[in-house]
Symmetry: C2
Subunit: 342 residues, 2 copies
């Protein structure tokens, strides 16, 4: 008897709203539900809407495909053993809440919980820029800076699930203070928040009249607006993205020298400014990283594999796709272990 | 029939001489041969003496134990697939030489090659400070600064065997130039060479009269001598080790935040100055690393596992012991894969 192809359901629990997708094990998207459930309305409403949407998708596709389960990406620290959210800055009422058990009980299906940065890396590894590599480091530049590692095809969680805090690696030990207690963290140079801060600083210093004018005209100015100024040739805006690239280059050169992974991906909203910050990033990498230069076939080592540093390719869908990947990976592991046991 | 216990032979091919040990699979040392073969006399003589010593040990113990093979630690970059030394700064005539094949052919026994920093980490994991953890990062402070990672009990080689260049991670992006092309590398702050350079700088600046006097009296002054001055309360010498600890703290806080490993070990000759540099190291770690603080049970998270940062415990024997571990690990892997295949 030919077995059915399987499908799974991924949930991206964002800081603002909720997206749910059914994806076939080949990677083909079956359906996506973008709810207008505002996450700030609270845990119970969110869980209710989430379970309704999951139930609808499960029912709709279960006749054609075998259902592998649900993966949920959460923007916070997860206790993987208990399936509990330990802490989530943008979801205060979710702390210490047994999300996994709650959803499993309501739906009667297996649920896998994962940190959203890890989901994004897994999504890129499955269907995005990381398809052809077995290991990667992903840096997500958003309001903050997140990160994740995949070693030998699997998410690296670290001892207590806290691995991947790349945003708090030190760029310069005496740099700007960070909320984490450190100074000069990558997040203070390469997040959307840092870009706005740096723009405010140059404007306040009277060094960038045009940028200052735009900022004063719109106190809600965004990193995207500063990117537009940089694209139009504004020197002050370009200097800010030069700093973004420089800081990323300093931290990535340390990571390349330490880990010699085949791929380092830059994702998140700020990554769309790639063309204005990446020249400085590559300049620093080439200057600073002995391993990057040694693994560049253009340099002097034919036959050596190149270290790839590039943009993530799935944009805002990476986390949703990676969440859907979680139950598929788990069922593979189960199948292998059952085969070995048998 | 009860099977024999097994033993293996480890070789530590140092920059100056050669040590060879037979070790039982339980970790008990059977015998160590410290040859006076000067490695600078050249490859052929070294290989000849090495094979003689291995042969003697193999013959001596093969009646009582099953022989698992030979592991050789080499201070350089190894091509693991071909068993070739790609580059070794202190062994220039070994570059591109197929060491593994050569020794295997002469002895008729399996040989495993490995980088010496990786061997040291493996030794500490087997019989030293890392016995009880499944993952660790080891930083070796010697003439230069080396490093190695063990993830899930196994050496992490990276894409082309270049992982572990922790000595070239950036402490401060505008710091002293390094031979690798970068500025402000850890090696420029925490190696024996850096300690001598910093002592020379403070002496030349006329800031440390007593230290300057000692240095002028002995142009061959060592990092160890500066450590002695620090122990005796010399403020300039203490400031130098404060810088060593600060730089280690900056880099380790980035590694702890990125990887959340259970253990970070400091080894190598300079590690014996632990008491004078470790206070600054822990001060920086506590200040800078959000993951270090979150995984410190003393702080606010009962039940959480603590990140251990401590001295390596096997001293100069770590690499020799780790080299002997290599063939034992390989035969375990073979046994498991045979069981699965069967």
């Amino acid at each position: 008897m030919a077995s059915l192809a399987s499908f799974s359901i991924g949930v991206d629990l964002g800081g603002t709203n909720l997206r749910i997708a059914a994806i076939e094990s080949s990677g083909a998207r079956l359906e996506t539900i973008c709810t207008d459930t505002l996450v700030r309305r609270g845990r119970n409403q969110v869980i209710g809407e989430m379970c309704n949407a999951i139930g609808r998708l499960q029912k709709k596709f279960s006749s054609r495909y075998e259902f592998a389960g649900v993966g949920v990406g959460v923007p916070g620290i997860i206790d993987l053993e208990t399936g509990t959210v330990c802490a989530a800055a943008h979801l205060p009422d979710w702390a210490n809440y047994p999300v996994q058990t709650e959803i499993q009980q309501r739906l009667g299906t297996p649920v896998v919980l994962e940190n959203d940065a890890n989901c994004a890396a897994l999504g890129e590894k499955w269907l995005g820029a990381g398809r052809d590599v077995n290991g990667l480091c992903m840096v997500t530049l958003g309001t903050g800076v997140g990160g994740a590692f995949i070693f030998n095809g699997e998410i690296w969680h670290g001892m207590v699930g806290m691995a991947g805090e790349i945003g708090h690696m030190t760029v310069t030990p005496d740099g700007p203070s960070c909320g984490c207690g450190n100074r000069g963290c990558l997040e203070q140079f390469a997040s959307a928040t840092a870009i706005r801060r740096m723009a405010g600083e140059v404007a306040a210093a009277g060094k960038a009249l045009e940028l200052a004018h735009a900022i004063n005209a719109n106190p809600e100015f965004s990193a995207k607006m500063i990117f537009q100024y940089a694209l139009q040739g504004d020197a002050a805006a370009q200097q800010i993205f030069e700093t973004v690239g420089w800081a990323l280059g300093v931290v990535l050169s340390s990571l390349v020298d330490a880990l010699n992974l085949p791929m380092y991906l830059i994702g998140g909203g700020v990554a769309s400014a790639w063309q204005v910050f990446s020249p400085a990033l590559f300049r620093e990498l080439s200057r600073r990283s002995i391993v990057f230069r040694a693994s560049d076939p253009a340099e002097n080592s034919p036959g050596k594999k190149k270290t790839i540093v590039t943009q993530a390719s799935l944009g805002g869908d990476a986390g949703l796709i990676g969440a859907a990947r979680l139950p598929l990976l788990r069922s593979q592991t189960h199948a292998v272990s059952q085969r070995i046991t048998a």
